[in-house]
Amino acid sequence: MAGTVQAPGPVTGPGAPGSEAAADPGPPARLTIPKLLRGLRRAAGVVPFGVYVALFLIAPLVAVAIGAFQGNDGGFTLSNVNAATHGVYLKGFWQSIILSVITSVIPGILGLMVAYAIVKAEGGNLLRQIAITAAGVFANFGGVPLAFIFIATIGSSGLVSQWLTTLGFDPYTHGFTLYSLLGVVIVYLYFQIPLMVLVILPALEGLRPAWREAAENLGARTWDYWRYVGGPVLLPSFLGCVLLLFGSALSAYATTEALTNGTIPLTAIQIGSFLNGNVIAGQENTGKALGLGMVVIIAVAMVIYVAMQRRAAKWLR
């Protein structure tokens, strides 16, 4: 990693048997003590960071991973994993995945549209600054306050619900409720769209006007430009952003908790309830198994992302 460590090369030189008249690559690089020490000294600068990451990121993850396979007696067991992949917990995983996919793809597209509108709108710098700070605030705005604000808006006695009722259409009598998966999706858009806007904005601004003009000059219409230039250039960033949104949606805890009070099984909330002690005794480590499951899901998502990126690069040639 740090420093240069090379495997010992073949011995070449004038006297060596079998050496050709080809160019001599020079004295072979060998792993020597001085080199190793020098490498270590160079790495010294990142040691504090490394220690920190090891302590507060790696170690907790490892603890979760290990705990997932620990029985109450401390011995190895698969019962936690078993419990985590059946029944209500399995349902929790499914719901979480579906919810996260929906609330990463839809806000992804919507966020792209909003970001594009911001980039192209002629309000100049001021509009952009306002939009960016607003996006920054809303992206971080989640959890309980957000849930409450939406309850006040489209909850059963929310403002918009009342407006619609006076117009003759009460959504709640037609089966709509904020305290459902659909409601959660609507609320998630509130912080997912701004997150998408923030992350895709630099990529959009990286689309040089010269590309658009050159394409036009060569006869491309709007669709052609996006199909051949804009889209392909933007795609990697877009996919990355969607992945980010996926992770964000999967991790979201407080919002749903506040909205549904646990009526909708979602993995994040289920894990939380383990910490809160609302569990059947003797199953504490199941929470860790759930946690491990979440990490696995995200790891899989990242693998899919990398695969899609590579594939997409080929498609759009």
Binding site: R42, V53, G136, A139, G143, F148, P194, G291
Partner: protein, 282 residues
């Protein structure tokens, strides 16, 4: 001089073309922005109506308001300091001495984004030594991990805009030691990046709920939640207040930062550069 002076040509000038070309695309764009504005602002308005102006006054007088707010602020400051103290030297060092590690560093700093805070807090609580467990220090240290991605990116962007190697070499050749270089040369040039990083840290901590509640600490967001059981209106008012204050704070920092960086010839302050910007070679 030749008599080329002629009377102004008496041609009929061709019709002036209309300056504003009403393209479909422009209309579409504004529709998108307006719909977005409605979606984001309407709930705020509804919340305001619901809470009623009176609720805002009583927010401050609620039990636990000041203590939870104070805790959140304390945590925010602590987290920010630790994060910057950790990330700044590391990032500078990697940029300067170990450029090959940059990708690895980027990869590591992506992890906290995709690891659910729920899982993280479970793990942290599992391994925390007893003496830390009862204190808010543990929470702060865990927050640093959450703040890492954004802080790193802000600092990385700031460093990439500088020609770090050249500046440091120039500083050294003029006789400045490492500490001097860091303090007098690098920090002033990284002011914008540091500002972004600070703001992101603070915004993150002030809004963080999951880890705090599961670690059983009553930070401001947790207080809002707990309080909601008793009075919905006050909770909503507190939420709006938190949102508004955060927004003013961010806006102020952005404006101040932009003014500052414009003085030194920089561009505007972008707080959130999470995506990789393509290097514009020149």
């Amino acid at each position: 001089m030749a008599a080329v002076t002629q009377a102004a040509p008496e041609r009929i000038a061709p019709p002036r073309r209309p300056r504003v070309v009403f393209k479909g695309a422009t209309v579409w764009r504004w529709v998108v922005l307006i719909v977005a504005a409605v979606y984001f602002l309407l709930p705020l308005w509804a919340a305001l109506r619901f809470a009623g102006i009176g609720a805002f006054g009583s927010v401050i007088s609620q039990p636990g308001f000041t203590s939870s707010l104070a805790l959140s602020v304390r945590l925010a400051i602590l987290t920010t300091l630790i994060t910057i103290a950790l990330m700044l030297p590391t990032t500078v060092y990697v940029h300067l001495r170990l450029p090959k590690l940059r990708r690895l560093l980027e990869g590591i700093t992506i992890l906290p984004i995709v690891i659910p805070p729920v899982v993280l807090i479970v793990g942290v609580l599992a391994i925390a030594p007893g003496f830390l467990k009862g204190t808010s220090w543990l929470l702060a240290l865990a927050y640093v991990v959450l703040a890492m991605p954004f802080t790193y990116r802000a600092l990385d962007a700031g460093l990439r805009a500088l020609d770090l190697k050249t500046i440091v070499e120039a500083s050294n050749s003029l006789g400045a030691g490492w500490l001097s270089t860091l303090w007098r040369v690098l920090l002033p040039n990284l002011r914008t990046a540091l500002l972004s990083a600070t703001v992101l840290c603070v915004a993150l901590v002030l809004g963080e709920f999951t880890m705090a509640s599961l670690d059983l600490y009553q930070t401001f967001p947790v207080w809002i939640y707990v309080n909601s059981q008793t009075s919905g209106q006050v909770s909503v008012a507190a939420s709006l207040l938190a949102l508004f204050v955060t927004w003013i704070f961010l806006l102020g920092i952005t404006v101040l930062g932009t003014r500052q960086s414009r003085k030194t010839g920089g561009g505007e302050v972008t707080l959130f550069t999470v995506a990789r910007t393509e290097t514009r070679g020149n």
